[in-house]
Amino acid sequence: MLQPDMFQLMTAGDVSVRGCHEESPTGASEKQQKRRQSESEEGNPFSFSPQRLHLHRDHELFEDGDILRHMYLQDLYILEAEDKPTLSVSEFACHISGCSSVFSTLEEYEHHYNSLHRHVCCSCRRSLPNARLLDIHIQEWHDSLFTILAQRQDMYQCLVEGCGQKFRTTQHRKDHLIRIHKYPPDFRFDKTKKDKRTRETKTQQQKDAAMEVVDDVCESEGVCDVMCNVLSDQPEHEESMETHASEEEAARLAKSTEDLPAAAQGSDSTSSAPAKAQYSYRVPPAVCFGHGSVRGFRGRRGRRK
């Protein structure tokens, strides 16, 4: 049933329409011409032009209607069909390369995207829960200037926003987070490169293995585009904030912060490390390189809801 105003429109007499009656596809107002001009600029990939479509009688678009017709001819037509054909709503697909997730609602899509793809470090493809932590991560992991300065002064920021304190080592920062900000001691703090060997023996932290992953990736030559696959399904390579094996973790971790180890990086970044690297694609090409994002990541892949 239509809205009342539509019904009115249909039964009304002549409906006069104000406006241009020009119908020729070639005629154009000045403004139209201007746009056409820009469209014919070199390199313009936009090629849409209105088109009338002729559908041949065998076209698949006509299938349902044809079936209806023949059901009627064969006396199989039911006036009120019991099985109503279902109208389907379009699904949403994550377009990040390598991520093949599909969602039935926009909300699910947004949640997925925000959890896994928004704050991604281009160098190591880690996904961070927010922009600030991404900044800190990049600074501590991929900025050689930071590494140099950290040898002489307190550089490791407290992860809690607004605190402002800085520490000499990640351990100090961790202690601060536990003592002052009441972080659970068994919270998944990451290890620094230096600490790696001493902590290897501790079995309670399954996440130690993540260090290797870090190294691998940081030295990897991955291209920026492959993001999601690499990060989404990593149950065995947990680092506190950086990889999300599941979305509930993502939700939990969104509140907390991480202990970010510094990694000596070597040649890959300059002092002008990207300031706003929220999205991988914002990182200048100089910092991202190669292919190899897949190296070191062994985890579930595929569709997730």
């Binding site: 020009e22 596809p25 009338r52 559908l55 009688r57 299938e63 697909a93």
Partner: protein, 498 residues
């Protein structure tokens, strides 16, 4: 007002539960779909006698092949009970295996042909009834056996008896798709001119018109129809007569209009050049009918079977629009009532017959592609918000609707601004994330047109977080989509980037 007077439903055997019926129906539908995909979709029609119409068609009992043999025997040796025997024979021939038996009997068909020309009117009627039963046979070999009778059937087409003419017509219609040989023979025997004459003479007799329509539609669906049949049809009086019957008669119902509309659909969809039909006023007629149908549907008209007519008429309008010169558009389709009707049909059928809604959207695309007038009408009559709502639905509906919106945007900047004011930008931010790649590309196309139309639109898009969306496509998309996103970001949104 418009009814489908006779809609028979093969209820199946008695004792079938509702669930069994449903299963059977679904099975039938599956078979039909497969047949269509194999380009083998053919149907036959069975004309029932009045006393049969309330009953089930399929009969439980098989009269037995012996009956057929003995009846034929009796008929061959004349006798006073010819009529009764013939009637019994026609009933017996309802059964498929009896049909097979019959045609295998020597001279059986010739017997019938002889009776077709009998001086006894009842005998003639019963004889043609027998042939009709044979023509409806599911066995491939049976219907061609009726060939010897066809020249007679053709001559009887315009006879005085409605029932007789109907039976002749449906018999011919049933057998012509069965084999190429049959079809060739019928063409050679002049079936097209015969149909044209019949239609011309019997225009007032809607039952016959319906039968002619059916038979013609069977011919038009055959494989080489575009080459062998359509030119002849177009050259005859058939198109004009088909058009004149299009508007359904309130008393008789929808059936004749349905048949004629399907004929017109086969005519318009087999070739891209429909100037011949346009000259005969086909688009004028069909679009005005579509407006009436749209009105009926909008009124909540629950007329049974209306979609059986809406479907072919929609298709005719859609394909005729393709051939219609743009300058003459408004003289052909009238004013904007058609636009309203089409939007109404899309909404009305969206949930019950999504395919029909999609076809209506297709017609709307063809209407708006090269016409500022109709694009403007969509805006002025406030039909665009309703269209935007439809962008959520898949199965080809959203892509078609987006094309329509793109048609509007393409016309002028002012339309772009209006579209933006109606909230199209935020919806595009959603459609850019859809699974269907064609949707994504089209969305980018529309976005481009909107963004270049004015700086305000560009700013609005950026406010809605559009930049990161485009960047995601730029870095992760493929080919067409990546190029479009890149171009948009670098050429038109550069100043908005951080």
């Amino acid at each position: 007002m418009w009814r489908l007077n006779k809609v028979r439903y093969k209820a199946g055997r008695q004792g079938d539960s509702l669930e069994e019926l449903r299963l059977k129906r679904r099975e039938h539908e599956r078979t039909l779909r497969q047949a269509r995909r194999d380009r083998q979709l053919v149907s036959k029609r069975l004309l029932l006698n009045e006393d049969e119409e309330q009953q089930d068609i399929t009969m439980d009992t098989t009269p037995g092949e012996q009956d057929v043999v003995s009846l034929v025997h009796k008929l061959q040796h004349s006798g006073p009970e010819k009529e009764a025997n013939l009637k019994a024979l026609s009933k017996a021939l309802r059964d498929p295996s009896a049909q097979l038996t019959f045609v295998k009997l020597e001279n059986s068909v010739h017997l019938l042909v002889g009776l077709l020309t009998s001086s006894n009117a009842q005998c003639r009627l019963q004889a043609v009834q027998c042939l009709h039963e044979l023509s409806h046979s599911p066995h491939k070999n049976v219907a061609p056996a009726c060939l010897p009778a066809t020249s007679y059937l053709l001559t009887y087409l315009s006879g005085p008896s409605t029932k007789f003419s109907e039976l002749c017509l449906y018999t011919l219609g049933n057998i012509c798709p069965d084999s190429d040989a049959v079809k060739e023979k019928l063409l050679a025997q002049g079936i097209i001119p015969a149909l044209a004459t019949c239609m011309e003479n019997q225009r007032h007799n809607l039952a016959v018109v319906e039968a002619v329509g059916f038979t013609l539609s069977q011919l038009l669906q055959t494989k080489d129809a575009a080459v062998k049949i359509i030119p002849m049809v177009l050259a005859s009086t058939l198109p004009s007569n088909l058009l004149s019957v299009l508007t359904p008669d309130p008393k008789f119902g929808l059936a004749p209009a349905i048949e004629c509309a399907w004929c017109l659909h086969y005519l318009t969809s087999s070739s891209k050049d429909n100037r011949e039909l346009l000259c005969r006023g086909a688009l004028v007629q069909c679009s005005s009918l579509l407006v009436s149908l749209g009105r009926a549907v909008a009124e909540g008209n629950k007329d049974e079977g209306l979609e059986l007519l809406v479907c072919p008429v929609l298709r005719c309008v859609g394909n005729l629009l393709f051939s219609c010169p743009v300058e003459g558009l408004s003289t052909q389709v009238g004013d904007v009532h058609l636009v309203v009707a089409l939007c109404g049909l899309v909404q009305a059928y969206l949930h019950t017959q999504p395919a029909l809604a999609r076809e209506a959207a297709w017609v709307l695309n063809n209407l708006t592609a090269h016409s500022s007038q109709f694009c403007s009408a969509l805006l002025t009559l406030n039909l665009v918000p309703g269209l935007i709502q439809l962008l959520r639905f898949s199965q080809g509906i959203n892509t078609m609707i987006l094309r329509i919106l793109a048609n509007i945007a393409h016309k002028k900047q002012e339309f772009c601004i209006q579209l933006t004011q109606l909230g199209l930008l935020s919806v595009l931010c959603a459609t850019l994330k859809m699974v269907d790649q064609e949707m994504v590309t089209l969305s980018l196309d529309v976005l481009f047109m909107l963004v270049v139309s004015s700086p305000q639109v560009a700013a609005e898009f950026v406010n809605q977080g559009g930049l990161s969306l485009l960047e995601a496509i730029q870095y992760n998309g493929e080919g067409d989509r990546r190029r479009r996103a890149t171009y948009l970001l670098e050429q038109h949104l550069l100043s908005y980037r951080l």
